[in-house]
Symmetry: C2
DNA sequence: TGTTAGCACTCTCACTCATCGAGTGCTAAT
DNA sequence: ATTAGCACTCGATGAGTGAGAGTGCTAACA
């Protein structure tokens, strides 16, 4: 699929123009707006060629052309000019991200919000998958007589709590012993791999009556086992109303209903390639989900060290400002990576 | 504002019919559908009266009538027939609420989801306000050398975590002492009232070097202080597309955009009367927020013991199925109250 | 041979106009 | 007090029309 230079320039002009105006682009428009030194008739011929090759489409005979998915694909892969964020844009993002957060979930949520505000499209993000994360610490802390709180911390910085009922006769010291034992046994296990330790395993490590502590241990492990799926955030869904392709209710409804289903979101976000350092672009029919076959989906992943732990993305009409959005996602992704390390290494900054 | 019996019946018939069909109701329709034993002409006269009194409106001269906000108000206060949930409906709700949750936030979120599914409108709910809640326990638990997790539990069952950095020389035992001290000092304080304890206060309760523990205490109190506002959940926003009043994009957009702003939601939910046991109904212009002057808002509160700790509600077109929705909210509210007590008293049920 | 001017043709969009039907308000009869 | 009858109003619907944008094709041109 090689295009000669003139066709490339014309295709680029058409895509750029259409992204800008949302109106089918005619040959005259191209001839006028872009200095290609060609008459509209010539461009018309080239456009007919491009259409035949599948890069352009005509909504109806007497309308201009619009890019096909294939056209957008070529544009994204070969034509579009990467647009670095301006200093001011960077400043805006930095400022918006300055909010203090106390855990990763909040960070991801914030990033999603910022991303939708900033790109003017709809954004999504998913928190790290706890089941795949490694156990960093588990602690059973007393709340009041007969009740305790199980706190589970993972290497990805996610924290989960469960309130459990325990025997009244158990005192703080016992809980500490239980905690210590579990930590010794399961530190760095993947959450999903943690199983009830056998009685033999617990051996003589604990000198407290087994019949009292056993239920506690069972409950704690039970809590760990029922840690659930990652959370998905979505933001700026109403941004789509800014785009004429969603001016009719049926379209808007389909879009919104699809994104209302958290399951769909997970599907969408997890379908992204695991490529560590770039933004993945799915255009129109390249998407798996039928309902968003008129949308483009731009996703990226964020990591802890070298391990990908979650992803985020932007969805909007195929007529999307790819260069700008790609740069934005990239920047925000990097920002998340930084903040995650900070959060995990430095803990929370506190005003005193 | 007293209406004679016949006017009441006619008004009731009109509201019922309009709620059902979303079409302006004509005199003939009423005469036919409802067995009032009156001719359309008579009804016509009565309708003219009702309009003059402000209970009805006419979209245009040759259309039927629709209820005004005042008409709905009268309907809600005096005419509508309370509709108890059927056994099957109750079963459905119970079933949907059976999901196991580990904390109040999840419970409220679940309830909101169930409510929107069940009423077919948009639902909202707010978690208990942590700042107003009382501290039940605070615990600093070790995560790894140099890092600890601050866990704060309130009487309303909300839990909050903060990861902090601590001096490497601090060991578990120190943290326990700090925890104990803070618990002794601040148990049953409202979160928002907790202040840095004076050095004198800490007195000789702790025998560990003060210059090491002081920063920890400062950080912990710092964490408590920055506990944030309650969370708001919203569900089923796309349900509005089922209602013809939102068939035009501008209306749908306004509705969705308004509810997209979490601040608005808080405003909406907190504007509810604090009436402990009934569902508050705000019809159209009775709402404070201009953007939802064409919607009705039904809210209720949930409680811990006798104290109201949060609220939930349903929003939809003024043409809402009041009887059904009111019963549903009421039922779900009660269900929440029950589940909260269960959660707090019994802790989490665990499969072993 | 590639480019361009010219022109007939197509198709959508916005507008107008006439018609239809639901529902009203009024009047007069019961 | 109620009702039948009727003229009237007004929005919705659909057909018809002209303007405008854009195309494809042909023939002329460099």
């Amino acid at each position: 699929m090689i295009l000669d230079n003139r066709k490339r320039r014309i295709l680029q002009a058409i895509v750029d123009d259409y992204i800008d105006t949302a109106e089918p682009v005619g040959s005259r428009t191209i001839a006028r707006k872009h200095e290609l030194g060609l008459s509209s008739a010539t461009i018309r011929n080239e456009m007919a060629d491009l259409e035949e090759m599948g890069y352009l489409e005509q909504p109806h005979t007497s309308a201009g052309r619009i890019p096909s998915d294939k056209g957008y694909r070529y544009y994204v892969d070969e034509l579009m000019q990467v647009k670095e964020l301006t200093e001011e844009e960077i400043r805006n993002i930095e400022q918006a991200m300055e909010v203090r957060v106390s855990e990763i979930g909040q960070l991801i949520k914030l990033a999603s919000t910022v991303m939708s505000r900033f790109t003017k499209y709809t954004s999504m993000a998913v928190t790290p998958n706890m089941k795949k994360s490694l156990l960093k610490a588990v602690q059973v802390v007393p709340v009041e007589t007969g009740k305790a709180l199980v706190v589970v911390v993972t290497n990805t910085g996610m924290v989960k709590n469960f309130l459990i009922k325990i025997s009244d006769s158990i005192v703080s010291e016992d809980l500490i012993k239980v905690s210590n034992m579990l930590n010794d046994k399961f530190a760095n296990f993947a959450i999903e791999d943690i199983k009830q330790p056998s009685i033999k395993d617990m051996g003589n490590e604990i000198e407290v009556p087994r019949d009292i502590l056993l239920p506690v241990i069972e409950k704690v492990v039970g809590c760990i086992k029922q840690i659930d799926a990652p959370e998905v955030f979505i933001d700026g869904v109403t941004n789509i109303f800014n785009y004429p392709e969603f001016r009719n209710v049926a379209k808007a409804r389909e879009f919104l209903s699809t994104l209302d289903e958290k399951e769909n979101l997970s599907k969408i976000l997890s379908s992204t390639g695991q490529n560590n350092n770039s933004v993945s672009v799915r255009i129109g029919t390249e998407n798996i989900l039928d309902e968003i076959k008129e949308c483009s989906l731009l996703t990226a992943t964020y990591s802890l060290g070298n391990v990908v732990i979650g992803s985020l993305g932007v969805i909007g009409p195929t007529r999307m400002e790819y260069p700008r959005v790609i740069s934005s996602i990239n920047y925000i992704r990097k920002k998340i990576n930084e903040e995650i390390s900070k959060l995990l290494e430095e803990g929370l900054e506190i005003d005193t």
